[in-house]
Each structure stands twice: as structure tokens, then as C-alpha cells.
């Protein structure tokens, strides 16, 4: 066990799985970097943010494949390779680039097994960065996990910390279905204790990061940390919160969410993706349908406005959910009382 950053946790998961299974390969734009450059083949970048640094040196050019800037071809190649015996981990860099290759994910990889009557296995992982807070503006900041969650055949992982990232990525690589693994780009330098040995965290099993009696908060990815901070501050005001990190949006651990709402009767959902048809609406629908009688207050969603992600810091801060916005939402549902019928 040692302190590791989110970036190191992911690098270690990739390295350990590549050591364990020779069929695991990685591919993407500049996952090594430097091929064709005047300095010769070398570990130049290790991805734009250095996440895959060092893997070329250990595993060589056959298993660490730099690609042309050509998402449709290499994401499709990853799907084809997965269906024919390899276990590729393809890096899409920014998840926004899915616009260039969605067909290969949505119409090909996700559907092979069903369309082919259960005869295909597509052990594919697509890693990508998501999220606002980096001044990366509208084409490099989206949180597109609802888009993937919508597609049957895909599993979708949104890790909330370095520990979670390592265990969930190892699980993703060992999984026999296509997995979309989304890393919040603001979190790469966050650190915590992470075991040195490989370990897995199962999909579809939520983690309770706080347990309380008054309000349930469901949060995704980076928002879990925000929700924990809000819960800690609210505790001092006498409002105790349960915080649920679902870990995966597909499969979604609806059982844990419903159990917690049954206990607290009050629900706040924190989701940094665009507000229409996102995970917050999905969880709200689940609870409205399955736990209506348990609710003591309206469900509140802490989500961005229905706009592209803005560039300027002042606007981006307004755009994103924040600890303060979560606190305000929790206070409002905690204070809510059903009006007595006259």
C-alpha cells in the first residue's frame, strides 16, 4: 500500500494486467508518442497527460500501439481485435472524440453479442477523459457517460478515486463485455492509498462513502468527492447524509439506491453531465417508480444547465455542480415538510 495518484493507479492497473495476460494490448493516439519523430521510437508522451508512460518500454511496440489520429479506424480495430482473440484497451483521449467513431462502439462492439445470438465475446475497454474544470471548453469537457449508458451491450465505469480507478480498471480489462471507462481529467493528480497488488472491484455494486439518516446523496465520478465534502460540512449542522457512489452507471446498483432512499426518504442526485436524459433523471425515475411511498420530499438534482461547457473560468465554475450547490440542495430537501391537507 502506498500513496498513488489517479494517473499512477491507472498506469499500474494497465501494467499489471499486461504482465498477467499477453493478449492485453493498448492502442491510441500518442499512448507512447514519438513514433516517426526525429528522435526515433521512444516513450515520448505516454498519452497526452502521461497516463500510459513507461508501458512502451516494458511491453514493446507490438503491444503499445500508437495510432494515427483516426478514431473510426482504430476504435473499430479494437472492436475487431477483441472479437478475434485479443483484449484491447483503446484510449480515445477526450471522450468528446466519440463523435468520430460512435458507429464502431454503438453499432458494432455493443451489438455483436446480441445480434449474433450470443456467439460473440468482445472484451474491449475504451478509456477516455471526461469532465469540465480544465478550461478545455465545449469540445473537450463533456461528461458523456449517459450517452454510453443508454446503449445496451456496453458497461460504463465512472471511478471516483485512485483506489476505485485501479480496481475498476482491472475488472474492466478482465471483463468479457465492452466497457467504457471514463476518467475525470481534473482528478489525475489526486492521491490516496492504493494497494500495490492487483485487485478488482465488481461492477454494479455501489459503494457507500458516508452513512447517515437524513438524506441520501447519489453522486457520480468526481462528484462523489464533492458530495462527501458537502456531507461532512452538513454533519456539523446536524444533517446526516448517506453518499452513494454507484461506480458503474451500467450496470447500475438500483437495489442499494432504493434501500438507502427507503431509510432516509430524501434524495439528492449529483451529476455533472448535461441535465436532460442524464444519470440524475435516470435515478430520479427509478426512485419515483419504485420508492414513491418512501419519499418525504421532492427529489432534487444538482446538475449543470442545458448548455455546452463554457471556456472562461467564471462561467465554467457556474456551470459545474459544486459543494455549495449540493449543500443547498440537501438543506432544502431536509427542511421540506409535506403540507397538511386541509
Amino acid at each position: 500500500m502506498s500513496k498513488k495518484s489517479f494517473r499512477q493507479a491507472i498506469n499500474e492497473a494497465l501494467r499489471q494486467e499486461m504482465r498477467r495476460d499477453p493478449r492485453v494490448i493498448i492502442m491510441g493516439e500518442d499512448v507512447a508518442g514519438g513514433r516517426g519523430g526525429t528522435s526515433g521510437v521512444q516513450d515520448a508522451w505516454g498519452g497526452v497527460l502521461g497516463v500510459t508512460k513507461g508501458l512502451l518500454t516494458e511491453f514493446g511496440e507490438d503491444r503499445v500501439l500508437d495510432t494515427p489520429i483516426s478514431e473510426a479506424s482504430y476504435i473499430g480495430a479494437a472492436a475487431g481485435a477483441a472479437a478475434t482473440g485479443l483484449r484491447p484497451v483503446a484510449e480515445l483521449m477526450f471522450v468528446d472524440f466519440v463523435g468520430c467513431c460512435l458507429d464502431q462502439i454503438m453499432n458494432q462492439a455493443a451489438k455483436f453479442r446480441y445480434m449474433f445470438g450470443g456467439k460473440a465475446r468482445t472484451p474491449l475497454v475504451i478509456r477516455a477523459m471526461y469532465g469540465a474544470g480544465f478550461n478545455a471548453a465545449a469540445q473537450h469537457s463533456q461528461a458523456l457517460y449517459p450517452l454510453f449508458t443508454h446503449i445496451p451491450g456496453l458497461k460504463v465505469v465512472v471511478p471516483s478515486s485512485p483506489y476505485e480507478a485501479k480496481g475498476l480498471l482491472i475488472q474492466a480489462i478482465r471483463d468479457d463485455d465492452p466497457v467504457i471507462f471514463l476518467e475525470n481529467k481534473v482528478m489525475y493528480d489526486e492521491e490516496e492509498d492504493v494497494p500495490d497488488d492487483p485487485y478488482t472491484i465488481p461492477f454494479g455494486e455501489a459503494n457507500l462513502t458516508r452513512e447517515g439518516n437524513d438524506v441520501t446523496i447519489v453522486a457520480f465520478g468526481r462528484m462523489v468527492g464533492f458530495a462527501n465534502q458537502a456531507a461532512d460540512r452538513l454533519e456539523k449542522e446536524g444533517i446526516s447524509c448517506t453518499v452513494i457512489d454507484p461506480r458503474t452507471t451500467s450496470p447500475l446498483d438500483s437495489g442499494t439506491i432504493l434501500d438507502c432512499v427507503a431509510d432516509t426518504g430524501r434524495l439528492v442526485i449529483v451529476d455533472e453531465s448535461s441535465p436532460r436524459c442524464n444519470l440524475a433523471t435516470d435515478v430520479a425515475a427509478l426512485v419515483a417508480e419504485e420508492a414513491f411511498d418512501a419519499l418525504k420530499a421532492p427529489i432534487r438534482r444538482v446538475v449543470p444547465p442545458h448548455t455546452p461547457v463554457p471556456f472562461a473560468t467564471i462561467l465554467e465554475n457556474l456551470y459545474l455542480p459544486s459543494v455549495e450547490k449540493i449543500e443547498a440542495a440537501v438543506r432544502s430537501v431536509a427542511a421540506y415538510r409535506v403540507k397538511e391537507e386541509v
Partner: protein, 321 residues
């Protein structure tokens, strides 16, 4: 060129099977019993068969929406295919794929594909598997002149070259992408496109099995020997519409009749076989009769086969969930 008697016999049988299969579907579709869309490969048989004659089970192909011929050429069972097209539980995809998604990965058949240009990127991946798993396999993407204009196809030509993959890109150029002529829709030439990626280019008359066989041998052996990808441009004609029910108002009267009478790959095969005493006519006649019986039996069985059950609706979305 020497072709063994066994390959000749099997190739003729595969071409005849495709022809019977498709002609029968044309008739059966008109009765309204077959759900969905059907895209027929009639007239193009020599292409799929001439290419697949060089492939084994460890080689991979990806097909198109017009995929029945490629499936049969790669060895997918005809009765399972027919049942699939009828939406039956006994179909190769348990009735959940239909005509456009017939696949059998155990035979290296990575699927027909409902998305134009869907196959070439997948074939880059299959070729990568062959290369890294060192099984000496090659991966072949069949796609049409329409798909040759898709970005995914052009990107795949680049990636396969950059990665030096054992891949072959077979452009089946039947002159039409749906209802639009390739003379309108394809800028430049396929030959120049291959040259643009530094890729060897071969072309052939797709209604002549022997021409396809020979050109495919060169393209496939190039890829198999580790020299990187190649393109094979097959010129052929589509005897039916884009899909069944297409009135083909974009083709002049007599265009298809002329193709049928002058460029029928089966007639040409028989002619060549007779001219150089390759196979006796009686052997080919026996094949014709046997194939007809096989297709008859497949249709009868498909119509009687059980439909999918309600529980099949939610099965096989994931390996585990």
C-alpha cells in the same frame, strides 16, 4: 494457373448454392413471409467464392448488408442461415440478427453488417489479432463501391498500411450504392486510392471465377506473407435491386437482362470447365441437383422451425451483467 479438382468442385458448389439461395429468397420474399429487408448477391457469386477459396477457418472476413454470399463462401451452414432470415430460433443468430447480421465467429465470419463501411475497421482489428497471435491468418474486408467513400473505409486503408497488417480490402464494385451510380459518387479511381496509401492494387472481372481466383491469390498471398495490406477491386453487376422490392427505376431496361445473359458467372464457369476439360458436365449437373434439394429442404425446415421465445428478448445482451 493450376486449381485442384477439389477446389473447383467446392467453388462451383458454393456459387450454385449462393445462386439458388438468393433466387429462392427472391421468390419467397414476395410472398410476404420473410420479415425485414433482404439484399441479394445474385450475379456477384464468383467474387465471394473466388476470394474465400484462398481462405481457411483461421482467416477472417467481414461482410456487408449484402452478405449471404460471403457467409456461404466462408462455410456458414445454409439451413441455419435460412432459419435466421425467417427469424427462427434455430437460426445461426437465434433469430436475433436477421439477414443483415449473419455471423459465425467460429468460422472466421465476423458478420454481415448493416452499416455501410462498418467492416473495414473491424478487419484492421482482426488482422491485428492474426499478426499478434501469429496464426498466419489474413483478414479480408468485403465492401461495396458505396462503402469505398466512407471515412471509416479510407481511415482503415491508412491504418492497415501504417500498422503493416495482413489485411485485404475487396471492393465489390457493382456500379451502384443503393440507387446512385458509382460513376457519380466515387471521385477518382479505386486504383488511385490504393496507390495513395502505397498499397498494391489488383483488379478483376467479378463474373469470371478464374479471374477472381487468380487476382485474389495475389492479393491474399501478399498480405499473408507479411508484406502489408492489398486492395482487390472486383468489377461485377447486381442482378436485383438494392433491396428486395426496389423497382430499379434508375437502371435502363435491359441492363440486367444483358448481364444475366452475357455475364453469368455460373455459365462462364461451366463453359471454361468444358473448354479445358476441368470437370465433367455430369458432375456439375449433380451439384446443381443436390444444391436445389438442399435449398428446398432449408426453406421447408425454416418455415417449420420454432420462433424465438419471450425469454430470448433479454438474453445475450452481455456475457454477464
Amino acid at each position: 494457373m493450376q486449381i485442384s479438382r477439389d477446389i473447383l468442385t467446392r467453388s462451383y458448389q458454393a456459387m450454385r448454392t449462393i445462386r439458388e439461395f438468393e433466387e429462392r429468397l427472391h421468390v419467397e420474399f414476395a410472398t410476404g413471409e420473410i420479415p425485414g429487408f433482404v439484399h441479394l448477391y445474385c450475379g456477384e457469386e464468383a467474387s465471394g467464392v473466388g476470394v474465400c477459396a484462398h481462405l481457411g477457418k483461421t482467416d477472417t472476413i467481414a461482410s456487408t448488408h449484402r452478405g449471404h454470399g460471403h457467409c456461404i463462401a466462408k462455410g456458414v451452414a445454409v439451413d441455419g442461415m435460412m432459419a435466421e432470415i425467417y427469424g427462427r430460433r434455430t437460426g445461426v443468430c437465434r433469430g436475433k440478427g436477421g439477414s443483415m447480421h449473419i455471423a459465425d465467429l467460429s468460422l472466421g465470419m465476423l458478420g454481415a453488417n448493416g452499416i455501410v463501411g462498418g467492416g473495414p475497421p473491424l478487419i484492421c482489428g482482426a488482422a491485428l489479432s492474426h499478426k499478434l497471435l501469429k496464426d498466419n491468418g489474413v483478414a479480408v474486408a468485403f465492401y461495396g463501391d458505396g462503402a469505398s467513400n466512407e471515412g471509416s473505409t479510407l481511415e482503415s486503408l491508412n491504418l492497415a498500411t501504417v500498422w503493416h497488417l495482413p489485411a485485404v480490402f475487396v471492393v465489390e464494385d457493382n456500379g451502384y450504392g443503393e440507387a446512385t451510380g458509382s460513376s457519380y459518387a466515387c471521385a477518382g479511381t479505386q486504383k488511385d486510392r490504393a496507390a495513395g496509401f502505397g498499397m498494391p492494387y489488383f483488379e478483376c472481372d467479378g463474373t469470371d471465377f478464374f479471374a477472381v481466383y487468380e487476382a485474389a491469390e495475389e492479393a491474399i498471398s501478399h498480405a499473408r506473407s507479411g508484406k502489408g495490406p492489398a486492395m482487390l477491386h472486383v468489377h461485377l453487376a447486381r442482378w436485383y435491386g438494392h433491396f428486395e422490392g426496389d423497382a430499379m427505376s434508375y437502371r435502363v431496361n435491359g441492363e440486367v437482362t444483358k448481364e444475366r445473359s452475357e455475364r453469368d458467372c455460373l455459365v462462364k464457369f461451366r463453359q471454361r470447365a468444358a473448354d479445358v476439360s476441368l470437370l465433367e458436365a455430369s458432375v456439375l449437373d449433380e451439384i446443381d441437383a443436390a444444391v436445389k434439394n438442399e435449398i428446398d429442404a432449408a426453406v421447408v425446415a425454416a418455415k417449420k422451425a420454432p420462433l424465438p421465445e419471450a425469454e430470448d428478448l433479454t438474453r445475450d445482451v452481455y456475457v454477464s451483467y
